[in-house]
């Protein structure tokens, strides 16, 4: 589903002395099937933005369009529940929302609420459990007896079980160890491809943005600061530093390399191995490879 924001504003506690504009004149378009990273430091409006995506909040002004659903200040779709069955949101620390007696019941809670049949839910659970890296024997256990990483996977499985078209991920790997982070991100990448999802990833990690996203939107003070392909946006050190962000480490290295040696190696989302080969060629190649 396409996602479009047109001049969206959002004000918390509007009409009170505490009114606070969290989103200002925000416009962007995410084509169906994209993997978008939304980046910004704490307080830049990322979380408010994603709450618009399944109608948890409505714009104070402007229009949000998700597929055929339109959200404005005075207009909300009559079929809000349908929208929510199509946009799955994995919030920060989603394991805090687990509540059922067993893993199976917890995963089934979402689709049950959307009226999915018991047989269909059972079928979906069978598919999802291996996809999120859990084992079938865990289904009858209490989610609270699992490790933090496993609980996170159960919570994610609960969102996947509604079979959303749009998957919104709010810092899905925060607090996990490096192996867990990598496994979960690779899982989302797989699902994105296999299910043809539109994926919106909110992250602090420039490394993840470079590795997984095909489009990035940088937010600052509630409005769009930069937008484009990762290799175009995430290489602009000066502009990023202004909003307390930094380039990925690989880009940093290429910039430092240029400063030291006067040789510019363009960043094209190379792997570390490819960067090493570039450096080797420039420093030792003797020119014959150029």
């Amino acid at each position: 589903m396409d996602i479009t924001f047109e001049n969206v504003n959002y004000i918390y506690q509007q009409g009170t002395p505490f009114a606070h504009k969290a989103i200002k004149d925000l416009s962007f378009h995410i084509p169906s099937g994209s993997f978008v990273a939304i980046i910004g430091h704490t307080g830049s409006g990322k979380s408010t933005l994603i709450q618009h995506l399944n109608g948890l909040v409505h714009p104070s002004a402007g229009t949000v369009t998700i597929g055929n659903y339109r959200l404005t200040n005075d207009e909300k779709p009559k079929n809000m529940k349908e929208l929510r069955s199509k946009v799955g949101v994995v919030f920060q620390y989603p394991e805090h929302q687990l509540f059922e007696e067993t893993v199976e019941k917890d995963i089934a809670f979402g689709p049950e609420n959307f009226g999915v049949s018991k047989e269909e839910i059972a079928k979906r659970i069978q598919e999802i459990i291996p996809a999120v890296g859990l084992s079938g024997e865990m289904l009858k256990r209490s989610p609270f007896d699992l490790s933090g990483g496993q609980m996170r996977r159960v919570a994610i499985a609960g969102v996947l079980a509604i079979k959303p078209d749009v998957l919104v991920l709010d810092e899905p790997t925060a607090g996990l160890d490096p192996r867990g982070q990598k496994e979960i991100m690779n899982m989302f990448k797989e699902l994105h491809k296999k299910e043809g999802l539109t994926t919106v990833l909110v992250t602090h990690s420039m490394e993840d943005a470079v590795q997984y996203a095909d489009h990035v939107i940088i937010l600052n003070k509630g409005t769009k600061y930069m937008e484009g392909r990762p290799e175009d946006v995430l290489t602009q050190q000066e502009a990023l530093n202004k909003v307390q962000l930094d380039v990925p480490e690989a880009v940093q290295f290429l910039l430092n390399f240029e400063k030291r040696f006067g040789i510019k190696i363009p960043f094209q989302r190379q792997t570390t191995e490819e960067i090493a080969r570039d450096v080797h060629r420039y420093l030792q190649g003797g020119g014959e490879n150029e």
Binding site: H41, G175, E249, L283
Partner: protein, 279 residues
């Protein structure tokens, strides 16, 4: 030789009689004024070590000596004067309704005189760069700022060792930098041992010594440079290898010589400059 501040002697711990051992026969020391980093994947036992250090947990086997005293039910209150801890979640450790109340809390519990409290609030908030927020309410602070206040609160009671148990894990990159900078500043001014527990290898570069935990056992104990050279092994136990270490490896694979194990980009570029510049 430096004085031993903390000593673990053959310590084993598990949460219940039927449960698996979380720590298995661990022995190590922490010295005065030392910066020790403990790294390991989730569930490797690193946080259990922290909780054993100030008597939140007690070992089933072995003993733990802190500043010459064994940690037991009887000594925990003395031990806790020496061992300050800051935990992962910035929202779970704020007790005061303002920043200065929070810093005062620990001192109040220990019966510090009012004049001394005022002096120490000022000193320690300045040390963490939060002196302008004395009257601010906690919910108006960022995660990094809350953690800095938590550090000030712990430092206010003058512990001998400060333990940061994944204190940066829930922060954004800027918050992490703030904490690492704060910690270096504090160490430059106070005589203090520091134990940082993390799974972020980039955070161990500044430490003097690193203990790597794996499945409840001490897997390695070395200086950061030595740890960085064991990339494949680190990856096998679920840790992430920093970009500089990976790049160094890849450069070596292309046939380039790199003499030292560089800890950061500056060191790597310096090596490339001296060894490989064509003149």
């Amino acid at each position: 030789m430096r004085k031993k501040l903390i000593e673990f002697r053959n310590v084993s711990f598990r949460y219940g009689d039927e449960e698996p051992w979380v720590l298995k026969n661990c022995s190590f020391e922490v010295y005065e004024n030392e910066w020790l980093a403990i790294i390991g994947h989730n569930g490797s036992g690193k946080s259990t070590i922290a909780k054993l250090m100030n008597g939140l947990l007690f070992p089933q086997e072995g003993e733990i000596i802190i500043n010459g005293q064994q940690v037991t039910e009887e000594t925990i209150w003395d031990v806790r004067k020496d061992v300050g801890m800051v935990f992962q979640n910035p929202d779970n450790q704020f007790v005061g309704t303002t920043v200065q109340d929070d810093v005062a809390f620990g001192m109040e519990n220990r019966g510090f005189p009012r004049e001394e409290m005022i002096k120490r609030i000022e000193q320690n908030l300045t040390a963490v760069g939060m002196q302008d927020y004395r009257l601010t309410e906690p919910h108006r602070l960022s995660g990094g700022q809350k953690q800095r206040v938590a550090i000030a609160s712990v430092l206010a009671v003058s512990p001998k060792v400060l333990i940061l148990d994944e204190a940066t894990a829930m922060l954004d990159p800027k918050g992490r930098q703030e904490i690492m900078r704060t910690v270096s500043n504090v160490r430059a001014e106070h005589a203090l041992s520091l134990i940082t527990i993390t799974h972020d290898l980039r955070e161990v570069v500044q430490a003097e010594r690193v203990i790597v935990m794996n499945s409840g056992e001490i897997w390695d104990e070395a200086i950061p440079r030595e740890i960085f050279s064991k990339k494949d092994a680190l990856r096998e136990i679920g840790l992430d290898v920093p970009f500089v270490a990976i790049l160094t490896d890849e450069l070596k694979k292309t046939g380039m010589t790199i003499t030292n194990e560089p800890l950061n980009q500056e060191e790597l570029l310096e090596d490339l400059w001296t060894l490989h510049l064509r003149t």
